[in-house]
Each structure stands twice: as structure tokens, then as C-alpha cells.
Symmetry: D2
Subunit: 384 residues, 4 copies
């Protein structure tokens, strides 16, 4: 229920997997922690399996269910179409939603290719509807603080940017490809493997923190060449990239190294980033997301050292909304922060980032990465 000073925003969610849960949680929790002019209402959730979608609606408190996203998009009582379904569905839903005049938010990557993203950008811009992509890691408080420090010039000239995203969940040959649980291994559905799934996160953050990437040289590998397909039951060639690494040159003259894999034993979701500037350096990793490592060359010489900043104080981004100093938050809070910023932007007129157009920049880089892996040459990142 809204308070007297709030208005409601009716949300229609597509997809009730992992990301459907994170979005639903964000919309459920956001008003308990942030004073906002808008209160999201969980109006409807849509998924193909009617029993499953009903269970999800019961659990999360959605008022209604749909089993065809076209029906959802057609409803008058929906303000925002929130897309949390597999990658191959993003563009069609987003374009239809925009054409129906809805706000649209989409999971990442925006499209399977920059060309696909481009059609989505065109649709939302033509319709003039609000749009955003859930690159949630921008709103880890430690990462947001990193952005502030960079924008304040505290790093000086940047020399190096490094990012990795390491997982180990597909090492076994018994993991199938395709289907509801493992669509991320199905090239047709996912578009690519770790490049679009994991590197996309690394790239989005990098573009945000360190500016544009101009050229890349990449290699990809598929370690397990054939897997059973969960839908067909047949052993089929694996067409996604299991691992992907690339060298990059940023527009600001700094060098980048990027790597993602699902074959790094011992790491579940180890997204790490490091930035070396003339004056200071930063490191962060997702396995301890509530900390930021900071090295300040301006410190007294004999006392210089990497600081492990416990990002739980009221003067850290977003943290005054949570508990008291010393008490850490976790993964799902990044989605709450994104929801809070998006809802606030509906009122204050400030632009919300990243928009579809901004998120397309990541797809241009992943396109170049995949292209370079094929051509075995440096490739220039397209910008339009």
C-alpha cells in the first residue's frame, strides 16, 4: 500500500527464474529502506508454465499471472515491463513493450548482439519510454564508492584496468546444455557463453569507471566440446565459449586485461576488478563485496599500505539506508539500490543509468571480443 505522498508503479515481470527473484525482492523491499515518491506494486508475473508461475506469484505476492508475455504487454494496468527471461527473448518483449508505451527494464546483456540491442534502443527512444538495464554491480556500495573516487580525480591518470569473472560450475561433463536450468550453455538462447554472461558485467563496470574501450584482442575456448541437450536429450556440439579472455586499449590510454571462465575450480562467482592510477589504486571482488581495497600513494611513506575498507558506514554509498556500522549487506541489495535509484529518477527527473543505449556499449565490446577470437586479430570496437 502506498503512503499518502506516494504514487504506485505497476510492475509486470517476465520470467520467474533466478533474476525474477532478485527483481521481485528489490521491488518488495525497496520502500522499506528508501524514502521514495513511488511504490512499486507487483501487479503481474508472466512465465510459460502456469503452475510454476502461480507458485512464484504466491511466494512473492504478485496479484496476477500471465503465461504469454504478449498478454502482459497488452494489459492497461501495467506501467513497467520488467524482463528477467532468457537472453533470446529480451528484444522482442522490450520492443513490444516500448511500442505499447510501457517503461521497460531488462536483464543484461541487453541483446545477444549489438545489432539486436540497437533495435531495442531504437524502440524505446522512438516511444520515449523510460528504460534501464539491470547491471546491478554498479550499485554495490564499494563499486559506487570507487566511481566517486575516480570522478573526484583521486586516482589521477589511469594506467591499468583488470577484471576477471571466475566460476566453476560447468567443469563436469555431466552438466547438460539448454533447458530452463542451463540455457546459459545454449548458444541460440544465450547468444554467447561467458562473454555475454560474465564479461558483460566486467565490461559494463569498466566502461562506467574507466571510459570507452577502443580495440581488443581476444581468445575463447570451449573445453567440453559436446554435451547432452536438456530439451532434445541428444548429445550435441557445445557452441558457447566456456572461457574468454581479452586484451584491451581504453580511450584514456590505459591497458585492460579481462577474463571470464566457468572452469576456475574454487571460484563460484569471483568477479574481481583492479585499477592502477598514478595517485592511487583500487581493488574489489564480489566474494567480499562489502569491502573495497584502496591504496593511496599520498599516505605517509612508511605507513602506505592497502586499506581494506569495510563498506558499512553511513557515509558509504547507500549504507545509511541499511543497518549500523560494521554490519554487512549482501548480493541482493544491489538490486534494491538499482530499484531505489530508478524509482527516485521517476520523480526527480535525473537520468537513470544505464539506459538501453548505454548498455548497448557493452554489447559492442562483446561483439568485438567474439569477432577477435574468430579472426585472431585485434578488432576495433564499433560505436554505432
Amino acid at each position: 500500500m502506498t503512503t499518502p505522498t506516494q504514487r504506485s508503479l505497476n510492475v509486470g515481470l517476465v520470467g520467474c527464474g533466478f533474476m525474477g527473484r532478485t527483481h521481485s525482492n528489490a521491488f518488495s523491499a525497496v520502500n522499506r529502506f528508501f524514502d521514495l515518491p513511488v511504490r512499486p506494486v507487483l501487479k503481474a508475473v508472466c512465465a510459460r508454465d502456469s503452475a510454476e508461475v502461480q507458485r512464484f506469484a504466491d511466494q512473492w505476492g504478485y496479484e496476477s499471472v500471465e503465461t504469454d508475455w504478449r498478454a502482459l504487454v497488452a494489459r492497461d494496468d501495467i506501467d513497467l515491463i520488467d524482463i528477467a527471461s532468457p537472453n533470446d527473448t529480451h528484444h522482442e518483449i522490450a520492443i513490444a513493450a516500448a511500442q505499447a508505451g510501457k517503461m521497460v527494464s531488462s536483464e543484461k546483456p541487453l541483446g545477444r548482439t549489438a545489432e539486436e540491442s540497437g533495435r531495442m534502443v531504437a524502440a524505446v527512444e522512438a516511444a520515449g519510454v523510460r528504460n534501464m538495464v539491470w547491471y546491478n554491480y554498479r550499485r554495490v556500495p564499494a563499486v559506487t564508492l570507487a566511481k566517486q573516487l575516480i570522478d573526484e580525480g583521486k586516482l589521477g591518470r589511469v594506467f591499468h584496468y583488470r577484471a576477471k569473472f571466475l566460476q566453476d560450475w560447468t567443469i563436469s561433463v555431466d552438466v547438460p546444455q539448454g533447458g530452463a536450468a542451463t540455457w546459459r550453455l545454449d548458444a541460440k538462447v544465450a547468444g554467447s557463453g561467458v562473454t555475454g554472461d560474465l564479461l558483460a558485467h566486467c565490461i559494463d563496470t569498466a566502461l562506467w569507471l574507466n571510459g570507452g574501450i577502443e580495440t581488443v584482442s581476444a581468445m575463447t575456448e570451449t573445453f567440453i566440446k559436446e554435451r547432452r541437450h536438456a530439451l532434445t536429450g541428444q548429445v550435441e556440439p557445445v557452441l558457447i565459449d566456456d572461457a574468454s579472455a581479452f586484451l584491451a586499449r581504453f580511450a584514456n590510454g590505459s591497458l585492460g586485461t579481462f577474463e571470464a571462465t566457468r572452469y576456475a575450480r574454487g571460484h563460484k562467482a569471483l568477479y574481481t576488478l583492479e585499477i592502477n592510477g598514478e595517485l592511487a589504486s583500487i581493488e574489489w571482488d564480489l566474494h567480499d563485496l562489502h569491502r573495497l581495497a584502496w591504496f593511496d600513494h599520498g599516505d605517509e611513506g612508511r605507513l602506505r599500505g592497502w586499506r581494506s575498507i569495510h563498506i558499512t558506514d553511513a557515509d558509504h554509498p547507500y549504507m545509511k539506508h541499511w543497518w549500523v556500522p560494521g554490519l554487512q549487506i549482501g548480493y541482493e541489495h544491489t538490486f534494491v539500490h538499482q530499484a531505489a535509484d530508478f524509482l527516485a529518477s521517476l520523480d526527480d527527473g535525473e537520468p537513470f543509468h544505464p539506459t538501453f543505449r548505454e548498455a548497448q556499449a557493452t554489447d559492442y565490446v562483446t561483439d568485438a571480443v567474439l569477432r577477435s577470437a574468430r579472426t585472431e586479430r585485434w578488432e576495433r570496437v564499433a560505436t554505432s
Copy 2:
């Protein structure tokens, strides 16, 4: 709204400070992550300031407000009285609630003294009502896993138990005592300083993991002797303990060292525990609560080392209810877990821990600690 197979539990919360928020969040979130036969309904919240309590009710979705806890206790539509108000109010409210036949849950410490707790235990047991104390750190997944490992005998004979709870928020002489924000510095309201506030957590976990404490030798200190009282505006003697440390002998023959302070610069809420057993050792700390350090002497000699277990996998306690491996949870989740276990226990008949009686054991230890600090002698911990 409840699902067809759920029944509701009407909650009446007393107190809308920090702990009121953690409890409200737990009751709001629990059914989204745990399949439970019972769904808490935020029926009413009670606090003395009517504007403040209304704001809180709006934010958290409570259906109604009260400004007198007696009125709350008297209501027919309340099943559970949940006490999140300052320590000096626990006993009166709990006893009245029990006498009114309500279930009762209370923040810790249960009473300001074991004698006060004893009257609360008597009341709930006489009334035969369900009762629990919010010692939330038992339900940090890493700590729960430690309990499992100990219960399975993986540590063998225990030699040492160490716990510390370090904060730094009262170092400045400008921090007042008393009032809504700083009642923890007011001996009359809080009962004691860090002994009841912080050591109580350490002791509850210790008793749970390592069994009874028989004798203690303690010292306490008040570093800043006078502070302005927030209510009277007068500079008054500080009567609480700023720091408290004690040696302990456990019934199982192991040695304990415990310390808490609000004068440890650099630590906001650093609750640490270490257990050294014949076969294995454990370490944990609240600033990285999603990790457990584990040393297993059974490992191959040259490969023995402290493992940093990232407690985010589906086979870790509670974690299958949250996200996917690698993604950490935070502080508030411990309250959600406690709510989930409590609600489940309403149906399955399993006892819920800690009850008032179990929580009183901690108060017997804190009593002995404070007594030893005065007598400057070893003191035996009472058991009744």
C-alpha cells in the same frame, strides 16, 4: 496474504528502533524465501511517540499502531508480542504478554539480571506460551555450520574458546548517555554496558557451541567517567562498563577468554570467535560473516592450512533459500533465519532455541562477570 495452505500469525511489535527494523524485515521477508506453514502478519507496532510509530508503520506496512504496550498486549488480534524495546522494558512486557496468553519473543539480553530473567522464564512457563530470544548470531550460516561440525565430533576434545566483540563508537567524550539513541550507555536502562550488550552475544554462542561455563574471573573498566545525559542535559557519572574481559573455565575442561569493548579503534562490530579442538579448529568473525575459517588436522600434512570457506553453497545451512553459490548474504538474514525456524517450529512441534530459559543461562554468566569485576575474585556461575 496467506496461501491456501498457510495460516497467519499476527505480530505485535514493541519498539521501532534498530531492532524493530530487523524484526520487521525478518517477518516481511521470511515467506518469500522459506516455504512455511505460517505467514506472519504485521498487525500492530507500538512505541511511545505517535508520529514516529506511524511513520514506522507506514514504512514497514503495519496495519495499526499503539502508543502503550499494555493496549497492544490487551488486543485479541495479536498472537505474538515481539519485544524490541530497551532492556529495562523486557520483563514487564514479556510477563504481561505471557499472562495474556500470547507467544512472546524478546530481544537480548532477556533481563538486565538473571533474577529479572527468572521472572520472565517463570511467566512464560506458567502460561505455557511459546517463547524465544533473538540471539540472532546462532543463525549466521557459518556459525550454524560450526555447531554442526562440533556436534558431529569433528573437533574432538576442545581445549580453547575465544571470543571478542570490539566496537569503537563511544570513544569520543561528546557521545551522550541515555535517551533514545544512546540508552545503551545508561546503566538503569541497559542494565550494564558491553557485558550485557556485546558479551551476551559471545556468551550465548559459546554456551551453545561449547557447553556450560563454570567459573569466571573478570575485569571491567569505564574509560570516560562522566558524560552528558541526553534526557537531563546534565553531566553525570557513567555507570556502565565501557570494556569487559573475563577468563572462563568451561564444564568440558576447556579454557575461555572473552572480551568486549566500545574503545577498539578501527572495529565497528567485530565479533570474533575461535575454537581449538584436538582434531580441528574454527574461526569466524562478523565483519566477514559469510566465511568460516576451518583447520583440519586430518588433512594431508604438507597441505594442511586454514580454509576460508565461502558459505554460499546450497549445502551450507540456510543458503539454498537464497541465491546461487558465490553470492553472499548479510546481517539481516540472520533474523530471517530465526523467524523461519520459529515459524516452522509452530507446526512441526520441534522445540525452538533459545527459549527464555535457555537465554537466562547467559544472564547467569554476565551476572558472574559483573560480580567478579567487583570482588576481584573468581566467581562461580549460578545455574538457578
Copy 3:
């Protein structure tokens, strides 16, 4: 061989166990890394077993051997008697050496009791000979830096001092007591168990960094009550303390907690210390001795964090004598530093610390600790 500007100092070492090796290494290496006016000459080493002592002399380059320390003390060509034999031999050798007009250096603890130490102090002071005790941890560069920071007032008022020394090598019941390898478990030889062996280190550093300890409350425990004696072959009662912990009040008003044990599974030589001051805090541990943890409250609020200072730069104590920044030193270097400072003091007239008298202060504390463990009361630390 000495250089033209150097004079030699003839060293006579007593004992060729673990400490005999660390001292011999220090005297061998010191002139390669420090420009000093004095060059130690390994003149003679003494131990009871003639074959063993000859092997040791060959390995370390001692010019001659003795099997009776009295013969060593009687030699005219020895300037410094360096005592690295078991605790029960320190006083007799030191007193005789002083009476013979030799400089004397001794392993710690100085005596088995402060009374025994007192006779050693009296002897060296009566003879007017240079004397020092090998409390090597003062000269870990990180610890020396801590001392500098404290002396500069960077911590402000100190509230807390914590130290632990954790080992696990006696957990097995099969470890014997007594004899060459395990004399540290023989109370007659060692004086006490972990109190004199491990806590003595913690106390020496504490007194140096934080000033005098006034009162203590202690507990000790012997977990394994009987062990085979390596010399007699008989199972005999174990008379040393396996574990020892104490609370302390320092003269500066700060609180101390100290603990040592040989029953902390997973720790080989984990000496840790923590100091919490009003303005800053320090942590250090021996398992990563080349790092100092530093928290400075003066840092900008949102960027405050514990710094891990890699103590390898030229402006860190002693480090310009070693390699280049980033390259760590190890344990034995602390003895080299002590030898360097001692040799330099022979020329520059600066006092060397700790002298016998200064080291006796530690024995007064360990005496009080052992006494308190017996009386189960707070005990005042004697000062003479």
C-alpha cells in the same frame, strides 16, 4: 676477517640447539648487511656432547669447541659469552661470565624466576659488563615501526593491549617431556611451561610498547597430566603449564589480555598483538611478520580502513640493509638486527635494550601470573 676500520669481538657460544643456530647465523651474517665497527668472530662453541658440538662448529665455522662451559668462561680469548642453553643453566653461566669480566648475552627468559634473574642482574651490574637478552621480536621491523609510532604519539591514549602466542606441537600424548628435544616440557629445566616460554615474549613486547603492568589475574592448565620422561623413560606427572591466560591492568590505564598455549590446533607460532588507541590501532602477527596492520582514525571518513603495510621499504626499520622494496625477510633476520644493534652500541655508547635489568621486568610479570593462577586472585606485579 675484519676490515681495516673494524675490530673483532670474540664470541663464545654455549648451546648448539635451535637458539644456538639463530645466534650463530646472526653473528655470521651481520657484517654482510650492516656497516659496523665491530666484527664478531666465532671463537668457540660449547656443548656437553663432544661429537655434536664438533659437528656444529664445522657447520657454522667456530674455531674451537668446549664441552664444559666453565672452561669456556675461563678462556682469555673470549669477549662475549652468549648463552643459548636451556633455562636452568642461564644464571650460573651468566654470573660466572660476568665475574670473569666477559660481556654476557642470554636467551630468554633471563631466569626461571625473577629471583634468579635478580642474581644475574646483580652480577653483571657489579662487574660492569655489557649484557643483553635475546628478546628478538622487538626487532621485527614491523614491531619496531609500531614502537616508533607509539613513541611519536600516533595512537594517543591507549585503551587495549592484546597478545596471544598459539602453538599446537604438544597436543599428542606421545610427546615426551625432558631431554634435549623436549626440555621445554620439563618444569625443573624450563621453570614453567608456556608462561616462561611464550608469554615471556608477549610480555617483553608489551612492556616495551605499552609500559608497566601493575596487576594480573591468571589461569593456567595442564591438559595432559602425565608424559613419559625422555631421560628416565618413566611416565611422570607433567608439571609445566600447557596453557596460560591472564587479564592485566597497565600503569597507563589500559587493559590487557594475554594468552599462550601449545594446544591451539592449526597454529605453529602464532604470536599476535593488537593495540587500540584513541587515534589509531595496530595489529601484527608472527605468521606474516613482514606486515603491519594499521588503522588511522585521522584518515578521511569514508576511506578509513585497516592498512596492510608490507614492511619492505627502505624507510621501514632495518629494511634498507636487505633487498629491494617488495621482497620480504623472515624470522632469523630479527636476530641479525639484534646483533647489529648490539655491535653498534659497543662503539657509539648508546645503551642497548633490553639489558638484563630490563628483561627481569618480564620475569616479575610471569612470576605474578603463575602466582595468580595458584591463588586464584589478582596479584600485584613486583618491581624489585
Copy 4:
């Protein structure tokens, strides 16, 4: 002096800079810690500046000095020519020494190019003299343990190899190039920048642990384009690479990423390596060289975690020769280990690694890296 069972090996060192010190220390210390059939004698040291070389000889105990390496090579009383002078001198000295029938040891990189190394390999093989290259990091006990684990098959199929070597000492524009202190910035003397200086270490270890590298794609950068030359006093173009990164494909099918820089603020000598295998993973870094991180997928699921192995136990490589468990060694010990293994190999006939031929393999890789950086294409690593 040798013991009755030892024979001597007369060492003639060329160069008395940083590496001259590490080698001299190794030859001085090795017999104190290792029982060996051979004792090195510091017969002569050679450097162009006669005052400096005499000072060095005095400090380290060399019996004589030379100022022309040709004179040193011509001496009959020298068994081993040990080359610790700048890179551009290695080949000429080594070839002459081999032709004179001396054993030859050389600092790394062996030559400035693989072609230059090839001539050195040919010379030592034609002469049939013992030869070795000081790739000291193979003999960090943690790295040696990693090698053992890999050889035992404990990692299974390897998917990923990562290495970095990060420094920050040339960020200032005021650092000159050329001359005694900064010849590493002079392309003519050093051959290349970080590629030959730092990546060479990473590559040598990688080839040893993970086998051959087949192809690479690289980028290099010179961030500061002009520097004053220390010898000419003129501002001249900087011709070395300040930073170098490359992607690699190993013969075993694993992917490699490598990076080195002198522009990573906050890192002095952070050499890190990570290996991800099917069954286990390894991480190590030079800033805490006495630790090995180990993740074993074979551990019980809920207890899997990265172990931080403190490499100080007697069953760790080399460690029984040093102190007692828990006490760490440092950087210089790696050279002592190499000296020990080399001296032992003189007697037992076991081959010593790496020989010149083995070390040339690294130069083939650095050649390919530099070539790829120029061509902006993947380059195949030559093997002859």
C-alpha cells in the same frame, strides 16, 4: 674452510649490484644450512669500479678483486664464473667462460634475445661445462610444492594459468634511464623492459609448472615516452616496454594470461600465479611468499575452501633446513636453495634445472611476445 669430507668450489662473481649480493649471500650461507659435499669459496669478485668492487669484497669476504671480467675468466683458480652483471654482458662473459672450461651460472634473462641465448647454449654445450640460470622463484618452497602437486596429478587437467608481476617504481617522470641504478630502463642494456625483466620470471615458472606455450597475442606500452639518460644527461626517447600483457595458449590446451608492469601503484614486487585444474587450484604471490593457497575439490562439499598453507613445516620443500614450524623465511632463501641444489648436483650427477638450454625457452616466449606487440597478431613461439 671445508670440512674433511668436502671439496671446495672456487667462485668468481661478475657484478656487485643487487644480484651480486643475492648470489654472494647464497654462497656464504648455503653450507650452514645444507649438508653438502661441496663448499663454495668466494675467490674473486669483478666489477669495473675498483673502489666499489673492493668495498664489496670486504663486505662479503671475497679473497680478491678484478676490474676486467676477461682477467677473471683467465684465472686458473676459478671453477665457476657467476654472472650477475647487466643483461647485455651475459653472453660475452658466458661464452668466454665456457671456452675457458669454467662452469657458468648466469642471472636471467639468459640473453637479450633467444638468438643471443642460443649462442650461449651452444658454447656451454660445446665445452661440456655445467651451467645454470638463476630463475630463483622455482625454489620458493611454496612454488616447489606447487610443482610437486602438479607432477603428482593432483590438479588433473589444467584449464587456466594466470601470472602477473606488478611494480610501481617507475611511475615518476623523474626516474632516469640508463646508468648503474636504472639500466633496466635502457633498451640497449636490458634488451627489453618488463618483458625480459619481470615476465621472464612468470614465463619460466609457467613453462616449468604447465609446459610449453605455443602461441601468444601481446600488447606493450611505454607510458612515459622520454626520460633523462643517467649517463648522457640528455632527455632521450624511452625504448623499453613499461607494461606488457599477453594471452597464451599452452600445449596442454590450457589458456594463459600474463601481465607485467612498473605502473601498478601499490605493488612493489607482486608476482602472482594462479592455476585452475579440474581437481584443484593453486594460487601464490611473492608478497607473502611463505604461503600457498590451495583449493581441493576432493574435500567434503560443505567444507571446501581455499587453504592458506603456511609453508614452514619440515615436510615442505627445503624447510627442514631452516628453523621450526611457524617461522617464515624470506626472499634471499630462494637463492640459497638454488645454490644448494646446484652444489648437490655436482656430486650426485643429477641434472640441475634450469640449464642454459632450458632457460632459452623463456627467451623464445619473450621474443614472441615482443614480436606480437609489434605485429598486432598472434605469434607462434619458436622452439629452435
